[in-house]
Amino acid sequence: MINGQIVEKPKPVKRGMLDNVLEQFNNAADSINLNPNVRKILSITNTEIIIHFPVRMDSGEVEIFTGYRVQHNNALGPYKGGLRYHPTVDIDAARALAMWMTWKTSLAGLPYGGAKGGIQIDPSKYSKTELERITRRFTYALGENIGPEHDIPAPDVNTNDQTMAWIADTYMSTKNTSERSKNQHVVTGKPVGSGGLEGRDRATGYGVFLTIKFWAEKNNETLAGKTFIVQGFGNVGYWAAHFLENAGAKMVGVQDAFGSVQNKEGITVEDLFNYGKANNGSIVGFPEATALDGKNFFGLDCDICIPAALGNQITAQNAASIKATLVAEGANGPTDVEGEKILLERGITIIPDIMCNSGGVIGSYFEWLQNRNGELWQMDEILEKLEKKLLATFKKVSDYSEENSVDMRTAAFAIAISRIEKAYILRGIFP
């Protein structure tokens, strides 16, 4: 029990939903000959919290909700990870995603561990005022299981800066008056006017661009004149495309939920973005491009392919048709195991998701630091710090990959897990 809440005994993480998470861990652990005791520790979660809590609805009725928080590992620092509101949120989902966060924060060189959680809820069935009460009651119920130096949630599916502002306000309200402002960094992803980070919206997309830039520089190539395609034109895809275009690259294909468009001569990123805004988010019908059958999207002629929407997009079915020489994984898990094997055999470089889309969590770290130190950073210095941080990670992964003749994904996981192993070896196991 922690503060009166049920804390489940940690169980081994189940295979099934996110086999890749465990498979990648085990492969990397084998490749670095991970200390067997550390392997045991990292194979399970540290803490699993399930909370049932009541909330009064607009109708006056009371409903009981179930919330989760899984804290996988904190060897490197406070737990860090998102909170999602969705009917499919459960303890197994949170376990796998929490584990993933541990590797991601470790690889990024952040002083964080990994966590994930959420509420099993369909938000479309509730009003905004009900969601506010649900969020605040869940925050209160979590109590000291979260905290600015213990576990720092962030936005995820169906949660946003408003949700984070409610959590921060509720958490701070439970503290003594003089302590309240010291607790603002209990969550990241807050609105800019309420402790949030300038430029947080573009941090992930800018990170995707940076890793592509570093890859080009390493290979003595320039981005000017390079062609790219991007799947997903949301925050990640749009901003990655925006920065690539600024660097002289040419966008020749885009796919979103509505359809796919292409133009060998180039599609102006801002024009497409503005067209989408005026057309309920759809890029279909953009006058400066032609429509394309979605099945052929990844086979478009280009230098760089950026899957920035969802998982399992590059598979055994389409990997052989990809013409790009670089795949930059802006989404989580866009290349499956078979697809990756084919790409690597064909000599195509993959910038793995765990590094490629880590700009978001690095941005969260900057927000946390800014709040913790009582500072307000400007956009230019934030982007500069992000570049410095990502470059250090890219160099480590690239060097490890070359020195050990392994692909960048294997290198990234090896570095992430080794860093945690080192922390355990240095500090030992209590008692």
């Binding site: 099934g16 939903m17 996110l18 609805m57 607009d58 109708s59 006056g60 969705h86 009917p87 499919t88 459960d90 197994d92 989902a93 796998a96 995603l97 369909d122 938000p123 479309s124 069935k125 509730y126 009003s127 905004k128 005022t129 009900e130 969601l131 599916v157 169906n158 799947q231 997903g232 949301g234 925050n235 990640v236 895809g237 796919q255 979103d256 939920a257 509505f258 359809g259 796919s260 988010g281 979605g294 920035a308 929407a309 969802l310 998982g311 399992n312 997009q313 802006g330 989404a331 989580n332 898990g333």
Partner: protein
């Protein structure tokens, strides 16, 4: 559509026409995901008087 333990598609506003994937039972993360709009407050929907806070009725 199968219900996968982590599956965003069934509640996504784009699900009926989305071209991004045919594997709509296995999506745990998606940049295009849009939840259906929040429900309007019930008082607004059925035009009833909002309950007064309970403490005021004591």
């Amino acid at each position: 559509m199968n219900i996968h333990p982590i599956n965003l598609c069934p509640k996504c506003a784009h699900a009926p026409y989305c071209v991004l994937t045919h594997a709509k039972s296995m999506v745990f993360s998606c940049s295009e995901y849009d939840e259906l709009q929040y429900k309007a407050p019930i008082a607004q929907l059925i035009n009833i008087k909002v309950r007064k806070p309970e403490l005021e009725t004591v």
